[in-house]
């Protein structure tokens, strides 16, 4: 019996091509008011969070997700938004807040709010952290489309992200609610 020759690594062609966009983690909450991504790896340049979520609430919709970094709940955030509500466009901004927000969340457990959040240079210790997100929901007669921005006035690298329902949220999430974190190499 002849010995089958081995394959040297140098003989392999057509190397697997991997890109710069990696999935890091997904949270599918069931009953917690806060979703947290912790121990975020430092190996990327940018982060993207992709959200599809809705939560039952005790107040009339819409309401917001409140976002903080590294457990910082002090007045170290600013937030702004450009939004359309189906009848007019408007803009809003405020500083010295305890969070920035993702707008808006509908309370229906079948109509989901979608958001794509981009955070550039999240590891950079020379910059405050600026986020940009496109989010919204439509509920066949109501809804919002929003371009949100936020700033965390800290030069610390982001190691955790918490997303919390604001007051009125019940913690009861719609099925298939998911918060997915991605890293982008640079």
């Amino acid at each position: 019996m002849s010995i089958l020759p081995g394959i040297y690594a140098s003989q392999i062609t057509g190397h697997l091509v991997t890109g710069s966009f990696d999935s890091i983690a997904t949270v599918s909450p069931t009953s917690s008011a806060t979703v947290t991504f912790s121990s975020i790896p430092s190996t990327y340049k940018h982060l993207q969070i992709r959200i599809l979520a809705s939560v039952a609430q005790t107040v009339n919709p819409p309401f917001n997700w409140l976002v903080t970094f590294n457990g910082d709940s002090a007045a170290n955030y600013s937030r702004h938004r450009l939004q359309g509500d189906g009848s007019s466009a408007s803009s809003y901004g405020i500083g010295s807040q305890n969070y920035f927000e993702l707008s808006y969340i509908n309370g229906s457990l079948t109509t989901m709010n979608a958001a794509v959040v981009d955070i550039l240079d999240y590891q950079n210790t020379n910059k405050y952290k600026t986020t940009k997100s496109l989010s919204g929901y439509d509920a066949n007669g109501s809804g919002f489309i929003v371009l949100n921005s936020g700033s965390w006035q800290s030069t610390s690298a982001i190691t955790s992200i918490s997303i919390t329902q604001n007051s009125g949220g019940t913690g009861l999430y719609a099925p298939n609610t998911s918060f997915a974190l991605y890293g982008i190499r640079g």
Binding site: S23, G84, G86, S87, A114
Partner: protein
């Protein structure tokens, strides 16, 4: 935490002669989100409509949008339609980018975020709803009252969450 490279091209189509519509069919259910990039021209500026799973007559579509005309910012709403409006495309090179998240779940209605860019006409963004809990397996894009011109491209990508 698990990490994995994602953002995978699924299908691409280039229009060879003017046509009113195109369908991505047999979309695999193995991704988490879909991203569609449409780059091209219409015969004249008009709405780009989107329908799922050949649902063309259910009145199950609605949308909320925001427009910039070049002189005014505004917002609009469409309700109980037979298709979702996802902004417009024009006779000069236009680009529409759509994000369809958790498209293959069979529990919730389907929400799409979109950005539409017709530089000679409008810049737009919006969110569309399909009031059907079925998993999405096909997407049809239709040029309202006009046609996709030759050279237009439609590309579908899949993103897989960890």
């Amino acid at each position: 935490m698990a990490a994995g490279s994602t953002y995978t091209p699924i299908a691409t189509y280039t229009v060879s002669s003017a046509q009113a519509a195109y369908t991505f069919s047999s979309i695999p259910s193995t991704y988490t989100d879909l991203v569609v990039v449409i780059n091209g021209t219409f015969g004249a500026f008009n709405t780009l409509f989107m329908q799922f799973n050949s649902d063309t007559s259910s009145n199950n579509y609605s949308d909320t949008g925001m427009n910039g005309s070049g002189s005014a910012a505004s917002s609009y709403r469409g309700t109980s339609g037979n298709a979702s409006g996802t902004g417009g495309m024009g006779a000069t090179r236009s680009t529409t980018i759509l994000q369809i998240q958790n498209y293959s779940n069979a529990t919730t209605y389907k929400t799409t975020l979109w950005r539409a860019n017709s530089p000679s006409d409008y810049v737009q963004t919006g969110v569309s709803l399909w009031r059907n809990t079925a998993a999405i397996n096909s997407i049809t894009f239709t040029a309202n009252a006009t046609t996709f011109q030759a050279g237009s491209t439609l590309t579908l990508y899949g993103i897989t969450a960890a």
